[in-house]
């Protein structure tokens, strides 16, 4: 894209004033210089090494320097990827807006003077945080842009561009967030205060995010944004309760949930982990109608499965999947005049190096024809916000209805996302993003659909402490 065109477009789009620097060919050269550098892949082990306890000043500075050197390279590569888009696509206001955002982020971080002291580091971290927040709504904007450009690019090219963008974004965020967290943890340690610095972004899900701390004992579990003592059951429970609230507010009704856990090796008794209240002569779902909060992990969850992972990632994935399940169940009940909603059945199991999670619903399933679209990016999103129709979520494939708007509209989604621990915000880009997140550290997400009945989603999440040398960001 020609820089002069960029200036023109920026005036057209201009909801926000972009960098006062006018972009010239000189700047282009700078971008290229960074973009052609190699990404220094960091293993998770190295990343976690920065956060080795006890935190020292030199570690924080090291982490900062790594971040400062690495992020501009990755940002530049994204910028160049945008520049390689077809001209007409780049002229789309949504796409060019995102292009600008990345360009600015690149500029701001690149031009920051090298960090040598703690004060420098504080400034850098503030700038980093701000940039992260500015880039929050990249995905839905891009989605809208590409939707409008559908006829100018092949679907497969669009999909791979967005895939690369999301993957790069995950890497950027992991590195960036890691440093921001470490920085704050260090300062808290230094001042020995109960921190609530990130309170504004936390919403309901305080317990599973770094924002809520009960002092040093909880801090020891966290290495930056990685929780080494993550209990999937608690996280999923909180997400379920949250979604249940939203459903009740908007639909007036909501299915319950049940969480089962496979036996973790430490458990001696098997009784707790097996559902026993089945009627043998039944064809209906008596076993689902039990109290939803009885999550069979023993009284206080002593037998809970524990793993090391980045909770915000897991939360995002689980949120997307559960949103689908809840909505589908409610709609299917309406369609079929069911008197009750079958509960959403969630099972957590632990293998040697992975944790397996299955989410099972009776929401009618996904039709064969829709299954091929389920992981696509190109559906209507922001555009239909004003055309609210039947209660539909802003997600892609659905057994009966497509379209956007309604109950889980932009505002509701923002509410939902506000609780997800901050920077993952974005307007629920649905399954494709969940799949990328799941796959990022070597996990996977598979959907099995039983048309007319319901869906089973199988999540395989790696325990990243056991794979640390292999996992490269």
């Amino acid at each position: 894209m020609v820089p002069q065109m960029l200036k023109f477009v920026s005036k057209v789009v201009g909801r926000r004033r972009y960098s006062s620097k006018s972009l010239s060919f000189e700047d282009e050269k700078l971008v290229l210089k960074y973009a052609t550098r190699d990404i220094k892949p960091v293993t998770l082990r190295q990343l976690m090494a920065h956060g080795r306890k006890p935190l020292t000043e030199s570690q924080i500075l090291e982490s900062c320097q790594y971040t400062q050197n690495e992020l501009p390279v990755r940002l530049a590569k994204r910028v160049v990827a945008f520049q390689r888009l077809p001209f007409i696509v780049g002229m789309n206001p949504y796409i060019s807006r995102v292009y600008y955002q990345y360009y600015e982020a690149f500029e701001r971080l690149r031009s920051f003077p090298p960090v040598k002291t703690l004060e420098d580091e504080a400034d850098f971290t503030k700038a980093l945080l701000r940039q992260t927040q500015l880039l929050a709504d990249v995905i839905p904007t891009i989605a809208q842009g590409f939707h409008e450009c559908k006829k100018y690019m092949k679907t497969s090219d669009i999909t791979s561009f967005i895939d690369e963008l999301i993957k790069a974004r995950i890497g950027l965020r992991v590195i960036g967030e890691q440093h921001v967290e470490l920085s704050h943890q260090y300062r808290e340690l230094m001042t020995e205060e109960e921190g609530n610095w990130a309170g504004e972004a936390q919403g309901d899900l305080k317990n599973e995010t770094p924002g809520a701390r009960d002092g040093a004992s909880v801090l020891k579990d966290w290495v930056g944004s990685i929780n080494t003592n993550l209990k999937p059951r608690r996280l999923i429970q909180q997400v379920c309760l949250y979604i249940q609230n939203v459903c009740e507010m908007h639909y007036g009704t909501s299915p319950e949930y049940i969480i089962n856990q496979g036996i973790s090796e430490s458990s001696s008794s098997t009784q707790d982990s097996i559902n026993m209240n089945y009627n043998s002569d039944t064809g209906n779902n008596q076993h689902n109608k039990r109290n939803s909060n009885n999550n069979n992990g023993g009284g206080g969850g002593e037998n809970d499965i524990v793993m090391t992972y980045i909770p915000s990632h897991l939360e995002y994935i689980v949120m997307e999947l559960l949103k689908n399940s809840y909505r589908a169940t409610i709609e299917h009940s309406t369609r079929n005049r069911r008197l009750f909603h079958p509960s959403i059945n969630i099972t957590i199991s632990k293998g040697v190096k992975y944790v397996g999670i299955r989410i099972r619903d009776e929401g009618g399933g996904i039709s064969k024809s829709n299954m091929s679209h389920v992981f696509e990016y190109s559906w209507t999103t922001v555009k239909d916000i004003h055309e609210t129709s039947a209660p539909n979520m802003m997600m892609g494939a659905n057994a009966s209805t497509g379209g956007a708007g309604g109950t889980f509209s932009i505002q509701a989604n923002l509410d939902l996302q506000a609780g997800t621990g901050g920077p993952i915000a974005g307007l629920g880009f649905g399954l494709p993003m969940a799949k990328l997140y799941a796959g990022y550290f070597g996990g996977s997400l598979e959907i099995m659909s039983l048309e007319g009945h319901g869906c089973d989603v199988f999540l395989k999440i790696p325990c990243i402490d056991l794979n640390m040398d292999k996992l490269v960001i």
Partner: protein, 429 residues
């Protein structure tokens, strides 16, 4: 002179004897016509005539439509179709054998199967044109006999494959076995369908005319039969039947009091029906339920040092159907399959399964039918159940997918087309 040279190219030249294999089938092996290998090399030309033809595939629907107005003419044309089609299909498999590395082909078990195939090939292709019901009865008898002798094939192939693991790569083995098995199912389906139709035809003539074994049917006689195919098979009923049999079998084997085996709960669309060969579907369901049952009971034993019936979690079988397909989900809490093993469950040649395949020494025949599974001890595992089930499913245009939650349980999804419009799928990789 010519013969001496030919000797260099024939299989097994470097072995000076065809030692009788140490298996319970020695008598069968010895009773096979003594084949001169050199002669066989030249007979191969006959094979070429058949193996150059493609298989003429059928669909379930065609089979059913065929029987909708079954007259003597139609029955005889079915007989001749089978008579000419089977040798073509067998010839393709003989070719596959011949392309194996010769050292694998010299394995006594493989040789046995190879010779059985040659024998069947010869016998069927040399059968003259079938022109009357008596001809047909002779033909059916010959077919049945072949089906009987060939029931050794699976165990022999299993043992042979087991012994050849060091000589061929696992992928080659899997491909070879899949091709062999799917072709075997296809030939048996054709043969069994024709035999069933013939028997049903004779029964109907008997009930109409009071005479059996007529050489020609009464003028204008026609009947409506579908052989081994069931156009509207009630799935819930089929599942229920399997469930009862399995529970009884396991209660017996594990010495459990009656009605204490894990419950098998059938839910979902209980009115669903579809067109299928019930025997095949029963086999698949039986294998999956067997695996689930076994896992649950093993886990129950391990945890409590003895099976406590109260602690046994049930197996849930869910039926879903739409216009095109049926899906059956078998969901258990048997402890799951570890992620590391999961990619290998479909393989015939996985080292983990090696010790299982030795069990083939204990059986003379394996036809892969439910009636047989009911009689075999559930403790005896050959490592064939899952791959074989998948071959059955894929043969008719469906599939089986297995998902696992390690430490918890397994979900198996069987999808099958409902309408029987899919043509046989003979190319399973």
């Amino acid at each position: 002179m010519c013969l001496k040279k030919a000797r260099l190219f024939t299989v097994g030249t470097f072995h000076n004897s065809f030692a009788i294999p140490k298996c319970p089938l020695q008598r069968n092996f010895a009773s096979l016509p003594n084949r001169n290998l050199n002669q066989k090399f030249y007979e191969n030309r006959v094979l070429d005539r058949y193996s150059s033809q493609d298989a003429k595939k059928v669909s379930l629907r065609q089979l059913v439509l065929f029987g909708r107005q079954l007259t003597e003419d139609k029955l005889l044309s079915s007989a001749n179709y089978v008579r000419t089609e089977l040798p073509v299909r067998i010839s393709h498999r003989i070719r596959d054998f011949q392309s194996l590395p010769y050292i694998a082909g010299t394995n006594p078990h493989m040789r046995l199967v190879y010779d059985l195939y040659w024998q069947a090939f010869d016998e069927i292709r040399k059968f003259s044109q079938i022109r009357s019901l008596d001809d047909n009865r002779r033909f059916c008898k010959m077919l049945s006999r072949n089906l009987g002798t060939h029931s050794q094939v699976i165990p022999q192939l299993g043992l042979g494959v087991n012994e050849c693991l060091t000589l061929i790569t696992p992928t080659e083995i899997d491909q070879f076995m899949n091709k062999m098995l799917v072709a075997r199912i296809s030939r048996r389906t054709l043969a069994e369908q024709h035999i069933a139709l013939s028997n049903q035809f004779d029964e109907d003539i008997l009930s109409v005319s009071g005479e059996s074994s007529l050489d020609h049917a009464p003028l204008g006689f026609s009947t409506q039969r579908t052989g081994i195919v069931k156009p509207a098979c009630d799935i819930a009923q089929l599942l229920h039947g399997c469930a009862i049999k399995i529970q009884a079998q396991f209660e017996d084997a594990y010495d459990l009091p009656p009605d204490t085996a894990p419950q098998i709960v059938i839910e979902g669309n209980r009115d669903a029906s579809f067109m299928c060969v019930p025997d095949n579907i029963e086999y698949i369901v039986y294998e999956l339920l067997k695996n689930s049952m076994r896992a649950i009971l093993k886990k129950g034993q391990a945890n409590k040092g003895g099976v406590n019936a109260d602690a046994l979690p049930p197996i849930f079988v869910t039926i879903c159907s739409n216009d095109q397909d049926i899906t059956i989900r078998v969901s258990d809490q048997g402890g799951g399959i570890p992620y590391e093993i999961l990619p290998h469950i479909w393989s015939y040649s996985n080292p983990e399964k090696l010790h299982c395949m030795d069990n083939f020494n204990q059986v003379n025949k394996l036809e892969a039918k439910v009636s047989e599974s009911e009689r075999t001890s559930p403790f005896l595992s050959f490592g064939f159940g899952l791959p074989m089930s998948r071959v059955y499913a894929q043969y008719w245009g469906g599939d089986i997918v297995i998902r696992s939650l390690p430490g918890y349980g397994v979900d198996a999804y069987i999808t099958l087309p409902r309408l029987g419009t899919m043509v046989e799928n003979l190319s399973i990789d």
